[in-house]
Amino acid sequence: MSDPHAGFIIASYAFTALVIGGLVLRAIIDHRAQRRALKQLEARGVRRRSARQEAAP
């Protein structure tokens, strides 16, 4: 791109990619953290009432 304003165009798309990439990454990291915390709680025997009912024979 030999346009005199190429820097502005590239900066716009780079900034957008950074923000949207951050949102996607945040969603993935948060999901893993919550799943891990739930697993740790369940491993310690702390379960929701509905989960206890499902686990019961």
Partner: protein, 258 residues
Amino acid sequence: MPRLSSLWNLANPTRFLGLADRLLPWLAALASALLGVGLYLSFFVAPPDYQQGETVRIMFIHVPAAWLGLFMYVMMSASALGTLVWRHPLADVAQKAAAPIGAAFTFVCLVTGSLWGKPMWGTWWVWDARLTSVLVLFLMYLGIMALWRAVDDPGRAARAVAVLTLVGVVNIPIIKFSVDWWSTLHQPAAVFRIDGPTIHPSMLWPLLVMALGCTVLAIALHVAGMRNEILRRRVRSLRLMEAERLDAGAETAAGAAR
């Protein structure tokens, strides 16, 4: 009303988690495909503008970001009604998950607008009605996110945030009609007009495909955010349950020692 009640049942948090797990891969794939096609059209098919030159390509991301900043706020307002009127368990989850996404798109709109304004208007910023009202929208998002963090109990926070969100909704028509009501440096609407779009189809199509791609991406991020928020609330309630159990155990042990 059987259809309404089945929709109501579908909005049960446990069912929502199952639905989110099934939907998210498809939404992510659709958003990637649409954005891939949209970027190709924006950079390789759309011609340079006769006045703006290549800088018009910033519009293909600036305009969808602006639409989504507004869309997420309208969505949050509908959820705020769900919280205050129907007290639906997923309404405040939806509202909380939408705020950072709306804030991010509004921030992208402000920054890309500024990056377009410098070469085209000769300035990064002007305090005209459109720019200022969008800045107010961004500050509203930040205020809402801060209020969520300020109150520990999610139920109480949800009601306070719902009231603040509904107060802020007055800004949405101000943003939309600011270019008609006041004399602004920002150009008037070019797509959603009563007499039809004023953009040539060679530029309108890339813009619409990018807007659709960004919308599907925002919906995917929102579903993922809601899923995370439901899990976070489960973790919180299980930790409270564990703490109560430990307290009760300690009291029993202390009683036996006495």
